[in-house]
């Protein structure tokens, strides 16, 4: 697979340890487990291509995260269309995605890209402000501000959904 010794072995070890979390990161960012898998696969392929230019193991993990965040933006556009039409559930079988129906997942998908990435990296992946800043290539101040705004937007979106659900329930009762 690789003329340079070591690359495959290292990649295999990285895969063993970090692949599931890379998939989950893609899933959090796009709302689709299948797309998360695709993003993780692509991130590992790109990592393999860039192996010679990476500094160390930690840099590899950071590179994986950054790649998934960047790729998720285009992947999410299509996924957003689906989410807008999936009131509560995912499509089992072809694209099993049982979590896609959660309100918070839908609200996350509606966030602007940078705010979404900050919220996901800070609150779902549990990265520090500094680690998040490194992944996104922005300042720590920006991470704090974007995360705060993202959470407020999420709260507003969820509150609105609750209102709609309440209103809908009332309508159903009235009928």
């Amino acid at each position: 697979m690789d003329p340079r010794p070591g690359r495959d072995g290292e990649l295999s070890r990285l895969f063993e340890v970090h692949y599931p979390d890379t998939v989950r990161l893609g899933f959090y960012l796009t709302g689709s487990w299948a797309v998360g898998e695709d993003l993780a696969q692509e991130a590992f392929v790109r990592l393999w291509r860039r192996w010679g230019r990476l500094r160390d193991h930690a840099a590899a993990v950071g590179y994986l995260r950054t790649t998934v965040v960047n790729l998720s933006r285009s992947a999410l556009r299509r996924r957003l269309l689906e989410l807008r039409h999936q009131p509560t559930i995912g499509e089992a079988g072809h694209d099993t995605d049982l979590v896609a129906g959660l309100d918070v997942q839908r609200a996350l998908a509606a966030l602007p890209a940078r705010k979404r990435a900050c919220v996901v990296l800070r609150h779902l992946v549990d990265l520090s402000v500094e680690e998040t800043a490194a992944v996104l290539g922005v300042s720590t101040g920006s991470v704090k501000s974007q995360t705060h705004k993202g959470l407020r937007l999420l709260e507003a979106a969820l509150a609105e959904r609750d209102d709609q659900a309440h209103q809908h329930a009332q309508e159903v009762n009235e009928r």
Partner: protein
């Protein structure tokens, strides 16, 4: 009502994700991709050269030919009378993604193949291998025209697939006769005016529609459209490209955008003199949804093709999939979805005891015709769940492995 606890909901989401594991074949899949890496660069370069050559050589000569091509019917057919009944259940050996009806068959994509099911026998008569992206090799989409079946290789969620192509399949021979390299992430495809029109789901695909001359299989100069073109449809003597804020109406003979509609919402079908979708953008007369917020999906919208305004709303909650044919709009309703949203801790699984329903809408009255047909099983919460053609309606089960045929009986 107390404000929602965002952090608690995020925790619930994380717990659910931590309970899931990647597919067991993830490592072999990665290894297969890495084995192809040495040829990747060569393929990329060759594709680029091909595309550039085609754009440089094809130009005006082919456009003139396209201008002479007749288009299909403009206003659609009269409403075909009859009651819909289930006439067949077709079990497949694989889950399929996209499907369409044409050339006396149902054509479906799945597991890196195009599957052909004969309409007379309801049996699979051909499995045509082709490399497809998308979830489980389900590809992009399928269209018919100029004596061929056209299949897009689809996306894989990102814009890296080096062999982004549109396949041309000869339905007489059941084989791929051309693999036409196109920019990354080809998703949706239609055929109109002797031209194949393709939208892309990838960064390089933003803002344009790829055109292929169906006679020569060469690329024509792309058409610039608003960013993020998603669905593409043909009808009303035009090609329609939709993103979530606008729709672009393209004159397929001249290859120019003749109208931009604001706001658009979504549009999934063209027929009966109208555009059809499930929501409309903004706070106009639709009153159900905003672009950056969450929304209720509570009905089918009829949209005026000239103004983009919602002319009628037919209350079919969760009517996600739609297709126009037999003079009417067919809408599949996902009744397994609860009417309201779920919170963390609730079950988010589909209710498998509630099969889908199939509605028929008369475009002359905007009313549902007769009683909805209860389908044998539940249907996907997806907008790719129904196809109409050659006198039959086809609906996909939630597992993607079974297709149900419905026909009209007097």
């Amino acid at each position: 009502m107390s404000p929602p606890n965002v952090e608690e909901q995020l925790r619930a989401l994380r717990e659910q994700a931590l309970g899931r594991e990647p597919e067991p074949d993830a490592w072999p899949r990665l290894q297969r991709r890495l084995r192809r890496e040495p040829t990747r660069r060569a393929v990329l370069v060759a594709g680029l050269v091909l595309a550039v050559l085609a754009v440089a050589v094809a130009p005006g000569l082919l456009a003139r030919r396209a201008a002479e091509q007749p288009l299909g019917p403009i206003g659609g057919t009269p409403v075909v009378p009859g009651d819909p009944v289930v006439t067949a259940r077709i079990r497949l050996d694989r889950p399929v993604g996209y499907f369409a009806v044409g050339f006396g068959a149902i054509w479906a994509t799945g597991q890196d193949a195009l599957v052909r099911i004969d309409l007379r026998t309801n049996r699979v008569v051909a499995i045509i291998p082709m490399r497809l992206g998308g979830s489980q090799g389900g590809g992009g989409s399928i269209a018919f025209g100029e004596g061929a079946v056209w299949v897009t290789s689809g996306d894989v969620g990102v814009n890296f697939r080096p062999d982004a192509v549109v396949y041309r399949v000869d339905p007489a021979a059941n084989r791929v006769t051309a693999s036409i390299p196109v920019p990354a992430g080809p998703i949706e495809v239609v055929v109109a005016a002797g031209t194949v029109w393709v939208t892309h789901d990838a960064d390089p695909g933003e803002g344009f529609v790829t055109r292929i001359d169906a006679r020569t299989n060469k690329l024509l100069p792309p058409i610039q459209v608003p960013t993020f073109p998603g669905p593409i449809r043909s009808g009303l003597d035009a090609v329609w490209v939709v993103d979530w804020r606008t729709f672009a109406r393209i004159d397929p003979r001249r290859g120019t955008v003749t109208q931009l509609g604001h706001p658009a919402g979504n549009i999934w079908e063209v027929g009966g003199g109208a555009l059809w979708g499930t929501y409309a953008n903004g706070t106009d007369d639709s009153g159900v949804q905003r672009v950056d917020g969450v929304q209720r999906v509570d009905g089918v919208q009829r949209v005026d093709p000239d103004t983009g305004r919602v002319l009628a709303r037919i209350p079919i909650p969760h009517g996600l999939s739609m297709a126009f044919g037999l003079g009417t709009l067919w809408v599949v309703q996902n009744t397994s979805s609860p009417p309201t949203s779920l919170g963390p801790g609730s079950s988010d699984k589909p209710d498998r005891t509630r099969p889908g329903r199939l509605y028929r809408i008369d475009p002359t009255t905007n009313r549902v015709l007769g009683r909805p047909l209860t389908l044998p099983r539940i249907v996907p919460a997806s907008y790719f769940g129904v196809a109409v053609g050659e006198g039959t309606v086809v609906v996909k089960d939630i597992d993607g492995r079974t297709l149900t045929r419905i026909e009209l009986v007097p």
